[in-house]
């Protein structure tokens, strides 16, 4: 641990990684709480996996056709937003086919990504970085983009707290009260999409969904209201990022995977301790 703190002083890349992780924690805590409370982790998973299509396409066009502006993160953002809109439309209009269509979008996005990566010359190291993340190679440009996305998600997530709470808790009643349920549902999916993109840079596509849901689910065990859950989830997330980075640095382990193992442990512990804490509070 001391080794990590010393290294943090020496290496700018480690400071960048930690900063990226902490930025992601804020979006993750806020949006993850909505996702867990509304029980749409599966939908968020679908959106997360579509992202590979966008990243692969962006990489292909920048390498093969020289579109230098086509940064993989832009591709990821475009794919996530498109995926969120398609899935949102399906889940609002074709309720009974929702799970099938989400699975289809999920696999389609990944398949498109694999095709583009296959046709892109060079090492396929990118694929591994996209799938499992590599927080240590984060650039200054990435950090700026993360920061901007983070501010957008936080602003919308906090400003629309009341209507989002109403739609997540009781959609039918919210509709009766004149809240535009469709609008806020799509907004929630878009927030999830942007958060997934932020998380993909930290832990990669496959693990993003665990990072989005596990700290929030753990926080839910100790929170009486949604906003307390958000604050707790953000702190849990930040703790996991910092500890994960520190624990993986010495033995040279992949940081993303280390974080997810920690997140799972935290969730297991919270599930075990939650009922006891609640029991004590009630008494």
């Amino acid at each position: 641990m001391i080794e990590f703190v010393e290294a943090l002083g020496e290496h700018a890349f480690l400071r960048g990684a930690l900063l990226a992780g902490l930025l992601a924690s804020v979006a993750c805590g806020v949006v993850g709480s909505y996702v867990v409370a509304r029980r749409i982790s599966y939908i968020a998973g679908g959106i997360a996996h579509c992202v590979l299509g966008g990243m692969g396409a962006a990489r292909y066009f920048s390498v093969v056709h020289g579109w230098e502006w086509a940064h993989p993160l832009y591709g990821a953002l475009a794919a996530a937003i498109l995926g969120a809109l398609v899935i949102g439309w399906v889940s609002l209009r074709l309720r009974e086919r929702e799970d099938t269509v989400i699975s289809a979008v999920w696999s389609f996005g990944m398949a498109v990504g694999v095709l583009f990566i296959w046709k892109t010359p060079g090492y396929n190291e990118d694929l591994m970085n996209y799938l499992f993340g590599n927080i240590l190679i984060i650039s200054g440009h990435d950090l700026w983009l993360l920061g901007i996305l983070d501010v957008c998600v936080l602003a919308m997530g906090v400003m629309c707290y009341r209507p989002l709470l109403a739609v997540c808790f009781d959609e039918e009643y919210a509709r009766l009260r004149g809240v535009s349920v469709e609008f806020y549902y799509l907004l929630l999916l878009l927030l999830a999409a942007v958060t997934v993109v932020v998380l993909v840079t930290v832990v990669g596509i496959i693990l993003a969904i665990a990072m989005l849901t596990l700290p929030a689910a753990a926080a839910g065990q100790f929170s009486r209201t949604l906003w307390r859950m958000m604050v707790t989830a953000t702190l849990f997330c930040a703790g996991i990022v910092a500890l994960g980075l520190a624990a993986s640095y010495g033995p040279n382990l992949p940081a993303g995977a280390t974080m997810i193992v920690l997140a799972c442990l935290l969730y297991a512990l919270a599930t075990f301790l939650g009922p006891m804490v609640r029991g004590a509070k009630k008494a």
Binding site: S33, R39, C160, A166, F169, Y173, L176, R224, R278, K282
Partner: protein, 274 residues
Amino acid sequence: MAGNSGKTIRFPREAKPERGAGAPAPIEVADLTVTYHRKPVLRDINLLIKEGGLTAVIGPNGAGKSTLLKAIMGIIPLASGEVRVFGEPIDRSRGLVGYVPQRGSVDWDFPTNALDVVLMGRYGKLGLFQRPRARDRETALACLEKVGMAPYAGRQISQLSGGQQQRVFLARALAQEAEVYLMDEPLAGVDAATERAVIEILKDLQARGKTVVCVHHDLQTVTSYFDQVVLLNLRLVASGPTESAFTPSNLRATYGGGLTLLSDVLETLERSGS
């Protein structure tokens, strides 16, 4: 709005409805049909709910009782027909309708407390991005007080008993400060204390001139709790004052002959009616 001439009179968005003789009824349903997967679940319903009434909607399972409430509120599509609330289409009168859904319709493990749930009743009066004001909080707390739940305002909803959860839902509807209240089985599966509290609130709403329509399952208590009744089984069997519409023949037509539960009620009714 500086350039607004003095000629136009602006009504507040949720204007109070007209009252008195000749005023439109709180609820008017004309030729209503609702289908689910092309199968009708309500057919050709014509119904008039009078102002200030305490109405029970009764009928067997699957008779379309909840569907009728949802159709009145405009939260499910109508295959045909029309619903008017105080003479207006529901889009324009939504603010006048308070709703208590079935308790099982939401996830009670949701991370929220009783006060936040009741505050949701105030949302129609809030704009986009607007937070509840002190007045909304006061109203919500007063409504919790009214249902005897004020001490539990900060309690997470999963930590409440079934009866307490039902009272929170009732408080949320009260916080709407509506003119018509639609309630879906507010007495289903609640303890005796909650049942008394709910009935007291219904009577109080009636005393204040509000109109209440409840889906009700307990035939034994219809006559003592409600002064109007709607008997429903896909079609409207009968509706009107309890003493004239809640009759053995109408009950048989609604439930069919085979219901054992019905026999006690029929017996009581026949004895008192003769």
